[in-house]
Symmetry: C2
Subunit: 124 residues, 2 copies
């Protein structure tokens, strides 16, 4: 399958789950996964989802602007770079989030999980 | 050595070379390296540097705002996420470039080269 299409499908699935059932993101990380959120390093699916569900907003809607994808090496991973906007419920203006990097690794069943995740809000 | 310090040193070295001797960046890529530049995919050190040296500006100065780093897996690689500003000679305002992701891989001599490189200008 086309890696760009796989990356795009993963990103769509990830943000659809983020916007509708944030706790469900636990299924997309594993114990060795890492998130760097605005410089804060967090390891493991449980801790990562605890962070994401504790963000100070409930309802949100992501819209994706760009998805770039490259194979990361012989282990079958993919690097995915995402930019887009984040609309918070009750806020007039969308935030540009622009800076999310995922390193996806294959699972034994042929799907992918997030091994590395780096998030920076775009303050421009 | 502290991975964050290694990543910071690499990024400082990379942009110092970009701003003073862009063709010299060839030494920081290898034949298997990939660059995605604003969605355009380019492979190999020679082609990558041809792209970087053909950008429509001569003198420039990068200033780095954030550097995030994570180990990318058992092969000893590092993912480095960089945000910052790009000042072009003769332009009044700096551009936010904000979106550079490097995947660094170790060399046999103990240094690193860029295996993956994804660049997006920040249009915010």
């Amino acid at each position: 399958m086309d890696p760009d299409a796989v990356a795009k499908a993963f990103v769509d699935h990830y943000y659809s789950m983020f916007d509708s059932n944030r706790a469900g993101l636990a299924s997309l990380y594993e114990d060795g996964s890492m998130l760097t959120f605005e410089g804060q390093k967090i390891q493991g699916s449980q801790n990562i989802v605890a962070k994401l569900t504790s963000l100070p907003f409930q309802q949100c809607q992501h819209s994706i602007t760009t998805v770039d994808c490259q194979p990361s090496g012989p282990a079958g991973g993919m690097l995915v770079f995402v930019s887009g906007n984040l609309q918070l419920a009750g806020e007039q203006h969308a935030l540009k989030f622009s800076q999310v990097m995922f390193h996806l690794m294959p699972t034994p069943t042929g799907s992918f999980y997030v091994f590395n995740d780096i998030f920076r809000l775009n303050y421009a």
